[in-house]
């Protein structure tokens, strides 16, 4: 397409006249666009906004935990907050529940998944397989707009009289079924809108997943055989299947809960349910356990939807910056497929304390321990990939490097939760919070930051500032750990995740449980010498560390935001289409890539990570360069394989 013109106008936002063939008006080119790159950028911005909003909700919650006796600063005079703060300006339980539920929902469904899968997946996948666009560009646009609609609905629900959803991001029945039922207009309650918005988000994800899988299977360019796909594409393929097959049961659950709320059915309402001392007016006969099964059938694979793109981004950045091939590429591919398969049969490890019976628990313990094997393979391969390399520690590499230990901590602390016995103690404590936030926050989010820094020059034609990048990275690393590391200790001491006034409630309970002599737990604590009488106080003090770190972390995101926006205009211009000297196909396109992506039809001549090939003139041999002398070193077969390998 218009390669030359794209070169001259390197700025992404430089003007609407970049491509002389298309005289599309602004709204068609940047708003209702069917170009996968524009949609990717739309996904990126929207999800970053939602990430910031989710972060804000969490900072209010952290205030309530750290200073339960003080009025919330700055917010107490806002009219909206009047219904949710008490007379002294302190956070009420309702507000905490609402923000807690929405923090989880927004971060997972509106923040990270759209950023990882929607933004990076959309932008990078077609480029890496040498496709002109996604297989169904209009479907792609539809899935973004459905996502935006769902997100807007979630956001609007805060301003309903009932407020947003309050029953936790898991929305367990019967709590979620019965919350806010006294409102006259049941449809316009936050709890109902959560379900409607989820149905929209799920539809969006399903369309997206169909599109991704279809693109990867059918639109690979000439020579791009299965084992020449970059690992990122493999991860996107598996992620696509996870979304495609795991989301529908949640859609079922959302529809059923919607029926429970609006039509008065009893899918999740057991017989004889009492709410606030009154018998609940429903036929009964349903099962709350059913909801949990349907919910976690999605929500566990969702965890891998969160982490696989992150691992994939890191797997692109590490070989590029160590100038070495990815260690164990094939092993990683098979591991990711096994992971995808196992992800579907581990869900009930979230439900050990529901009383679903020992046989099922045993089954899920086994599969849960099994799934740690492919995870460890992936992370070990990444680690070994760095061994002996001469590493370029640029900003993306810093984030990618930090990802590995952070994800490691998150993963390893999950092992005790995999067994039903320790889970009895740790369930719903801050230990669980610490565990999955280590995976998602310093894990996935760091990888996503790495991705932004890494592909920014391709998207805009300019580099992001390294100095601001360092100012962003080091404090973030410090404060991320400041937030989540104390949670493990608090959790092991029994600090419950839903205690809205944090310390006060915890102190009261722990005084009764641990400090009163001769109670069962006090005896155990004394025998094991783990928790002494002063422990609760020490644990409460840790709240300040966590909350303080959270606010400081917010402060140190400012350099990133400045960097993201200012670099578009003042960043250093890239001097080639391939500024990192990388090997994969996205670097073969003009910068920024025009509509239709490639100037001439791309062909993949070799595997994706041919760095430092012996005898090659440079330390990288891109997939898209045909040099017969170099292809000899390729270990991969050139004939396109007829079949998709193994699992997916």
């Amino acid at each position: 397409m218009s390669a030359a013109t794209a070169h001259e106008h390197a700025e992404a936002h430089g003007g609407h006249d970049d491509h002389h063939e298309h005289h599309d008006p602004f709204w068609k080119k940047y708003i209702f666009s069917t170009d996968h790159k524009v949609i990717g950028i739309q996904y990126g911005f929207t999800s970053l906004v939602f990430l910031a909003f989710g972060f804000f909700l969490m900072m209010v919650m952290r205030w309530s935990i750290a200073y339960p006796d003080r009025a919330v600063p700055l917010l107490a005079d806002w009219p909206w907050f009047q219904a949710w703060l008490d007379d002294g300006g302190k956070v009420t339980g309702d507000l905490y529940n609402m923000f807690g539920a929405m923090h989880g929902t927004i971060m997972v469904f509106l923040g990270i998944v759209p950023l990882a899968f929607g933004a990076f997946g959309n932008y990078v996948t077609p480029l890496q397989i040498g496709a002109p666009d996604m297989a169904f560009p209009r479907l792609n646009m539809a899935s973004y707009w459905l996502y935006l609609l769902g997100g807007a609905l979630m956001f609007v629900s805060f301003f309903l009289p009932s407020g947003a959803a309050k029953a936790g991001w898991t929305n367990y029945s019967p709590l979620a079924t019965t919350t806010d039922l006294h409102y006259g207009d049941l449809f316009w309650t936050g709890q109902t809108q959560w379900l409607v918005a989820m149905a929209l988000l799920i539809s969006s994800s399903l369309l997206g997943a169909v599109n991704f899988i279809c693109t990867i299977i059918n639109l690979r360019c000439k020579g791009m055989t299965w084992m020449r796909l970059p690992f990122f594409v493999w991860a996107m393929l598996v992620t696509g299947f996870l979304l495609l097959l795991a989301f529908p049961p949640l859609e079922v659950a959302a529809i059923m809960q919607l029926m429970d709320r609006l039509a008065g059915t009893s899918f999740f309402v057991p017989s004889g349910l009492n709410v606030s001392g009154m018998s609940f007016d429903a036929a009964g006969g349903g099962s709350p356990l059913l909801y949990q099964h349907l919910f976690w059938f999605l929500a566990h694979p969702e965890v891998y939807v969160l982490i696989l793109p992150a691992i994939a981004i890191v797997a692109e950045i590490i070989p590029c910056n160590t100038r070495k091939p990815l260690w164990g590429y094939k092993t990683m591919v098979y591991a990711v497929m096994v992971l995808g398969f196992l992800a579907f049969i581990v869900w009930a490890h979230h439900m050990y304390i529901t009383g679903m019976g020992p046989a099922v628990s045993t089954f899920f313990q086994t599969t849960t321990v099994l799934i740690s094997v492919p995870s460890v393979i992936l992370i070990t391969s990444l680690l070994i990939s760095m061994w002996g390399g001469s590493i370029r520690f640029n900003v993306p590499m810093l984030f990618a490097t930090a990802f590995i230990p952070m994800f490691g901590i998150g993963g390893l602390t999950g092992l005790p939760l995999a067994f039903s016995l320790p889970d009895l103690h740790l369930h719903d404590t801050y230990y669980v919070i610490g565990h999955f936030h280590y995976v998602v926050a310093p894990g996935t989010i760091f990888a996503l930051f790495a991705g932004i820094y890494h592909w920014y020059p391709k998207i805009t034609g300019r580099m992001m500032s390294t100095r601001l990048g360092h100012l962003h990275f080091w404090p973030s690393l410090l404060f991320m750990n400041g937030i989540f590391a104390p949670m493990f200790f608090q959790g092991m001491a029994g600090f419950h995740r839903r205690a809205f006034d944090g310390g006060k409630a915890y102190e009261q309970i722990s005084q009764q449980v641990f400090a009163e002599p001769n109670t069962f737990l006090a005896n155990i604590a004394e025998t094991l010498n783990v928790i002494d009488a002063d422990a609760p106080l020490r644990m409460i003090d840790l709240n300040l560390v966590t909350s303080g770190s959270a606010w400081l972390l917010a402060v140190f995101q400012v350099p990133f935001i400045i960097n993201l926006f200012l670099s578009v205009f003042v960043g250093k211009k890239v001097n080639s289409d391939n500024p990192w000297d990388a090997t994969t196909l996205e670097w073969a396109t003009p910068t920024p890539p025009p509509h239709g992506n490639f100037a001439k039809e791309p062909v993949a001549f070799r595997g994706p990570y041919e760095y430092s090939v012996p005898g090659a003139p440079r330390d990288f041999t891109p997939q898209f360069e045909s040099n017969p002398a170099l292809t000899a070193g390729s270990e991969h077969d050139a004939e396109p394989k007829e079949e998709i390998a193994a699992a997916h």
Partner: protein, 487 residues
């Protein structure tokens, strides 16, 4: 660069994009309906005997609907055959035949949805049930929406801090009553309201006023607290308002939204109170069947249901029928182990019997001491019991069921039990698929001519892909029909 493989299949996968996309979409649909079927199995197996509402086991309860379901199955199969023949017609480049087949497919979809609506209408308006306090159930029909609470209101009291009161949706008649604000914040007292839209704008103004007052008060309170004032005056803002109507207005209250009601007031769940006079809260019911599955066999003769029905012949009718079936079971189990299993003893076979309460002055209408003034009669013949009880016994007496004896009541809508819930959810979702699929196919035939002339193969591909979806919809129905209607 054009997007490749839009019409021609890729060599190694053997698929063009749209076909692969639809198959993937169908995979997710398999999971969607898989989740629903899982829920079906889970809910059905999870019924606790004697606690949960039993599932209507087998055809005995909805024989009338089996034929509708069977006809629908045939209609869908016919439409599936139509789609494949339409595709063949396109492959043979015969536009006329393609049109005929496609339109007949869409017609099938319309017939399917019509039959479905008949079924829904019948379930939602013709069949009701009342569960009494001891879990005995009367099946029959609630007359004239008498499950609602009829009330004549004079005053409406609610808070300006919450949502718009639910009660205003229950007002009778076209005209919104003329209200005057008699109590509440000073600024609002005296205002007059005479329409729904006026009420809504008045309400949001009032809410803003109260919120602002609250913000001010709290700012003062926090200021005094921070300044160390001893015993600062607590925050107090009047947010409750009372509206008095010029003349009494009718209220037909939905019991699900009402927490309690008395002769002089209704308390809604959202805290709204309507004061006035109760007009009537009697539930009028025509009983067709008595279901004692949830009552212990030893307690059945003393069940509350008999004091509500208050008719000896009807009671005798029930237990005679039960005894006859018991003998039948004994006969069968004599050769099969000698013991009647628990599930049979507590099941529908023994414990659900047809009951006819004859109206006064008709055959069987004797033995009633209670000469209640409002005994109505109905000339309709009960049909819910199915064909076995045809030609039954003249008009029925309409029971007046006291509200305090009722634990749960409603039509056979999704609310009535987990079977009805999953029935309505699955068939409605399936119906949505039928409508969606039919619209797409209709699009292909109405607007397909241009593409047909340009690239008939592309249109054939589209029809094939739309057909794949349509067959899937048929396939789901193939499973839905037996598990929802027959087994």
């Amino acid at each position: 660069m054009e997007i490749p493989y839009e019409v021609t299949p890729r060599r190694d996968t053997g698929l063009y994009n749209a076909k692969l996309g639809v198959w993937l979409f169908l995979a997710s649909e398999v999971m969607l309906f898989g989740g629903l079927f899982s829920a079906y199995v889970f809910l059905r197996l999870g019924v606790q005997e004697g606690v949960d509402n039993p599932w209507p086991w087998g055809v005995s309860v909805h024989k009338d609907f089996v034929w509708l379901g069977a006809i629908n199955t045939i209609v869908l199969i016919a439409s599936s055959v139509g789609v494949v023949f339409a595709w063949v017609a396109l492959k043979e480049r015969n536009w006329r035949r393609y049109q005929i087949y496609m339109y007949s497919v869409v017609a099938c979809a319309v017939i399917f949805m019509c039959i479905k609506s008949v079924e829904y209408y019948s379930k939602l308006t013709q069949h009701h049930g009342i569960k009494l306090v001891d879990n005995s159930v009367m099946e029959g029909k609630i007359l004239d929406k008498t499950d609602r609470i009829r009330f004549s209101g004079e005053k409406l009291t609610f808070s300006l801090q919450g949502a718009v009161p639910a009660a205003i949706r229950d007002f009778d008649g076209e005209n919104f009553p003329k209200f005057k604000v008699t109590e509440g914040p000073e600024e609002l007292v005296g205002a007059e309201i005479s329409s729904m839209s006026q009420f809504k704008s008045w309400f949001s103004d009032g809410r803003r006023l109260v919120t602002n007052q609250l913000t001010e008060e709290r700012r003062r309170f926090r200021g005094e607290m921070a300044a160390g004032t001893e015993n600062p005056k607590p925050v107090s803002v009047v947010s409750s308002v009372t509206l008095t109507a010029a003349e009494p207005f009718g209220v037909t209250g939905n019991p699900r939204k009402i927490m309690a009601h008395s002769e002089s007031a209704i308390n809604y769940r959202d805290g709204v109170k309507v004061e006035g006079k109760l007009v009537s809260d009697e539930v009028q019911f025509e009983v067709h069947e008595v279901d004692l599955q949830l009552v212990l066999p030893t307690k059945q003769r003393e069940s509350v249901v008999w004091s509500v029905i208050n008719d000896e012949p009807a009671k005798k009718q029930f237990f005679d029928a039960q005894h006859k079936k018991y003998e039948e079971l004994l006969e069968y189990y004599k050769d099969h182990g000698g013991v009647i299993p628990e599930s049979q003893l507590r099941g529908r076979f023994l414990n659900v019997q047809y009951v006819h309460v004859a109206a006064e002055g008709h055959e069987g209408g004797h033995g009633k001491e209670d000469k209640h003034a409002d005994v109505h009669t109905s000339e309709t013949n009960p049909t819910a019991g199915g064909g076995e009880h045809e030609g039954a016994h003249g008009p029925s007496r309409i029971l007046s069921v006291p509200r305090d004896q009722i634990k749960f009541m409603g039509n056979h809508g999704p609310r009535y039990g987990t079977y009805y819930a999953i029935y309505f959810t699955m068939t409605a979702l399936h119906g949505l698929h039928v409508v969606g699929g039919a619209l797409v196919l209709l699009f292909f035939v109405v607007f397909g001519k241009k593409l047909y002339l340009k690239n008939p193969e592309h249109l054939a591909n589209r029809v094939e892909v739309g057909g794949l979806f349509w067959h899937f919809v048929d396939l789901i129905w193939i499973f839905l029909f037996p598990i929802m209607y027959l087994l």
